[in-house]
Symmetry: C2
């Protein structure tokens, strides 16, 4: 099969209602307000070196770690998101703000290329002494992603030059050569950023260093983090490692030997993304196999139904199989965003709809839930159940998720289409237009739909000249009974293989394909190993997971409500909600709280009939505080 490559987002125009609204919000509100917050929280000031470091405003842990050590990354990620925004609409004010940050970074850079504002400002002598905890390479990676994005959109090289000087310093410092340290990052990120730079420049040194980091990770004995700890703290005063094990950073064994998804979820997802990149680029079957084994592990035992990842706040990550608590779910927004990255890489390593299904699931649920309707409030953790306590924040002490969701939305068009020499693949639907080149022929593509609210999809294929190529249409895994017509003639949708129906023909201007993806409301049940979901049911329609929110089900906490198994689920369009959505409704039963006086009693609660209304999960907590649940207790009968 031919190798597909994503069509970059600037070539994909978002025309559909769903993404158009999200994109406008991010461009108009999120990106500017994030810059304001970066200023208010002192993050922009932290780049202005030399100047006396401000007092520590955040706790510093035994190992020297403070959230401030990753502020550079927040700036990098904002520049990346802002650059994507500029690709949609140039904006002199935003550009000036990016340039000002680049000014600061350029001035801060040490003569030898080193550029980490935390260390330069506070502890210049201690650079590279604690890769395990202190995020220098992670910061470099995010700055690099920002520099790549800014260059791609504006053609301005200055930031990229700064970062390339920094990378040369890093390449000289670390590696397997004589006099080099065999270090690698405690928080993976730079690997995937280096792959982006490699794709941009074609310079092999970037690919090589990414491969070095991947290959060196977890090699032992000795473990590099032990070596640097010994050097840092001496033999005597061994500060214990806060996270107690190397699973936390997926450095417990070489990556090719890893077969269980462990540790910090975002770290893991960034690592696997780069592993998949490298596996594709180097045609490395061992690495590809490791990716596939890890993919199966997370899919079979560790993913929330919303595509949230990492149940535990303690390690911001994974625990053990089937441990998916709902109310305390960490399910960090960043982790679902990073899962999208990984899924996209897997999809291009092996065009299988199962990857696109998860990409879509994470996009519409676990990732998008991190951003409020107004574009200026966030969830860092994305619980699947709430007693009404959690609410969206306008910023985070550790603001990683805020810019992860803005950069995702600002570049979301990049996940819709891929092209190969002899074909084009549609992974997502939702109303896009794009001009692509297939086998040397320019082809205009337009997909018109009200997806994800409706599965009625119309695609026009307009090659400049008639051309024979594959049109691969993703038939989502959640969809039964898809129908496809080409110029009004039924195609055999059942011929779809591994999630894609491939239509090969000589395409002519004005060819029309229609796709009917039925999306009746469905019930999902969790593996009995997920003890939290025993006796419960999740509601889904198309790619959207639904939840009950108190706002639509007034009268007490939504946990009072049960859904009878026999109750019919109805999809109800609601133009009055969130600019037009589809809710799910059903009859249910509800417990009466009114007659309770004590905490425990021997008589069960009274139950009365009620009706229930579910909204898409990603929209929860946009109308004030209130209880919410995804997994609804099911009542037999």
């Amino acid at each position: 099969m031919s190798r597909y490559a994503p069509v970059p987002f600037p070539q994909v125009k978002l025309e559909g209602q769903f993404w158009h609204e999200r994109l406008d919000t991010v461009l108009d509100r999120t990106v500017p307000s994030q810059h304001k917050k970066l200023g208010e929280y002192g993050i922009l000031d932290s780049l202005k070196l030399p100047k006396p470091p401000p007092p520590l405003r955040f706790p510093r842990h035994a190992n020297g770690f403070t959230v401030q050590v990753f502020w550079d990354s927040d700036v990098g990620k904002w520049i990346e998101a802002a650059s994507y925004a500029l690709a949609h609409r140039r904006n002199a004010d935003i550009e000036a703000k990016i340039e000002a940050a680049i000014d600061d970074l350029e001035k801060a850079q040490a003569p030898d290329g080193y550029l980490n504002c935390w260390y330069l400002g506070r502890e210049p002598d201690k650079r590279w002494t604690n890769l395990r905890d202190n995020h220098e390479m992670y910061n470099a990676g995010h700055l690099l992603e920002g520099a790549v994005a800014y260059f791609q959109v504006t053609g301005r090289r200055r930031f990229l030059d700064v970062m390339e000087r920094y990378l040369d310093h890093i390449y000289a410092t670390f590696g397997t050569g004589p006099g080099q340290r065999r270090g690698y990052d405690g928080h993976e990120e730079i690997e995937l950023a280096l792959m982006k730079l490699y794709y941009l420049t074609g310079e092999k040194k970037h690919l090589d260093f990414a491969a070095y980091l991947i290959n060196e990770r977890g090699q032992q004995p000795p473990h590099y983090f032990d070596v640097e700890r010994e050097r840092r703290e001496g033999g005597d005063s061994k500060q214990p490692y806060v996270f107690a094990n190397y699973e936390y950073s997926q450095s417990h064994k070489p990556v090719r030997e890893q077969d269980k998804v462990v540790g910090h979820a975002v770290r893991a997802m960034y690592l696997y993304t780069a592993m998949a990149d490298l596996a594709a680029e180097l045609d490395d079957a061992g690495l590809k196999h490791a990716c596939e084994v890890l993919w199966d592990d997370v899919m079979e035992t560790k993913m929330y139904v919303t595509a949230g990842l990492g149940p535990s706040a303690h390690n911001e990550g994974f625990t053990h199989d089937f441990d998916l608590p709902n109310q305390t779910a960490y399910a960090e927004t960043c982790a679902s965003v990073a899962l999208i990255f990984w899924a996209q890489r897997m999809l291009h390593l092996d065009l299988d709809g199962k990857y696109a299904d998860i990409l879509e699931l994470a996009m519409f649920n676990g990732a998008l839930s991190g951003l409020s309707r107004d574009g200026e409030h966030y969830f860092y953790a994305n619980p699947l159940e709430s007693d009404g306590t959690p609410t969206r924040w306008d910023w985070h002490t550790c603001p990683c998720c805020t810019m992860n969701v803005s950069r995702l939305v600002a570049s979301v068009g990049g996940y819709f289409l891929s092209v190969a020499e002899d074909g084009v693949a549609f992974h997502l639907y939702g109303g896009i237009a794009s001009d692509v080149e297939i086998g040397g022929v320019k082809v205009g593509l337009r997909e018109v739909s009200n997806y994800p609210w409706s599965g009625d999809i119309a695609i026009s294929v307009d090659p400049e000249t008639p051309a024979a190529f594959d049109l691969a249409l993703r038939i989502p895994g959640w969809c039964q009974g898809a129908k496809v017509q080409v110029n009004g003639e039924e195609a055999d949708a059942a011929a779809a293989k591994r999630g894609y129906l491939t239509i090969h023909r000589t395409w002519q201007a004005s060819d029309r394909v229609t796709l009917d993806l039925p999306m009746p409301p469905t019930r999902l049940y969790a593996h009995p190993g997920v003890i939290m979901d025993a006796g419960r049911v999740a509601l889904k329609r198309g790619p959207l997971v639904y939840c009950l929110e108190e706002f639509d089900n007034p009268g007490g906490r939504v946990q009072r409500i049960k859904l009878p198994r026999s109750a019919e689920l109805l999809a109800e369009p609601r133009a009055d909600l969130f600019g037009g959505i589809v809710t799910l409704t059903a009859r249910g039963t509800a417990i009466d709280e009114g007659d309770w006086k004590t905490l425990y009693r021997t008589t069960p609660a009274l139950q009365t009939p009620t009706s229930l209304v579910a909204i898409p999960y990603y929209l929860w907590s946009n109308r004030g505080q209130g209880s919410m649940m995804v997994w609804v207790p099911e009542q037999p009968g």
Copy 2:
């Protein structure tokens, strides 16, 4: 009503099977093995000053806190538990070990009386600079409790002399007088220890300082913890407070104004215990009222059905009303032990069975669950549900709970009886014998029963000479239809008031009272505000909360099981289990895990009939790892 005072445990002989076994285990296994662990973990060595401090083996937080700062308290608590053990059986080896620790403490004591081994060994100049976090008064309190217990059992004053010198130093340093600091403890404990010393010695200065600590707590502005932080860190480098608020230490407002139970659960319970002590001793209606308001708050909104307290590991404490997650329940053993202390003080402030009910509930469930059957393994956190991951530990980095449960069991007899000038009250049953003095007459009491397995209770009352007094028998709140006979004649059990049936008569030698407390298996339901327990039912019999454990319900995780509402619960004596217990059995249904391949699917799980076996909660996790649940999903019908 006359004022009742507890009959101290050495005067109460435990003869019944239940407590006899627990006591023997603690004397023979727990106390000796705890001393061994204190040695292995360097805790005993930490008293041997002066000598170079060992390397930090535990993380030190930004505020200087490390678990090692409360090692003195662990020694104090072990001496207390060991002293109680000696009251049952003198043991030269244990006494030598206590004396050795006292040798070290005596040598370590500074000339001015100060005695905190962490500060003396590491940072002698920093003593009393961080009452908020660093546990100096807390340690002093536990050492004092140890000294009081050791003196009471052996009559040896040396440790008590050491502690009284230390207290004189503390009294000179803190207070409202000129040149004194208005400090108080960040972790309450010393207050209740001072009350014990006051009861022992009658010296008013101890009562006065306890009252000072209680009264000063939470006074502001300025808040003392702010004052000392300013002094410690200067104006500029304000390390943020790890726990971010003064609710954590119940110092957010003066104690008489507190009406919600907040913060660290053990801190709160120790504080309330001392408040109730003081309210009784000073006849302080305001303090009594505060205790009652706080009691109602925790009972109505914050207590697990096992009498576990504090759902959150984050603050080891309370969160918000009805937040009682099962699997992640912190419910620290120490907190349930401390609830027993508080309940006992409340009971003696106001003889109401509601306090004894909770005392008993905590004893048989949330506290006792912290100690394994073999007496050498522990739970620090006591979850109400498990997927099989948690298991008992043989020690804890922070071993506070281990000695809390051993000192409780070693002194458990002290919770059974109270006497007044004109009466005796039975709070607990389980087979005890005691000689008490009532109005100058010696009265032999024997209570024979197989409680908590059976509610058939026989009490003999043998006054030396015929004497008129009250016999107050607790009729547990969980009991319906209690029957009482005096010398074979029916008494009017329905005349019981506030949990006690008071029988006034002229008692003669060989008077016999029988008490029949029916204990059918019962179902309990939680307030709908406890969203985690919606649709679930807890099983109880007498004072014991039950749980399903995988060991008795093989075939997968117990969470596969549901209990039909109509299923009859049967109490089944099982001589083969744990030396003889009563299990509960019922028919149920179980989900079939066998046919699951994916994490989520659209078809519900298959259910098949099964039978279920529940064991007392306190016995879980004694037969290897396996899943467990207290709140069982209920099936209508």
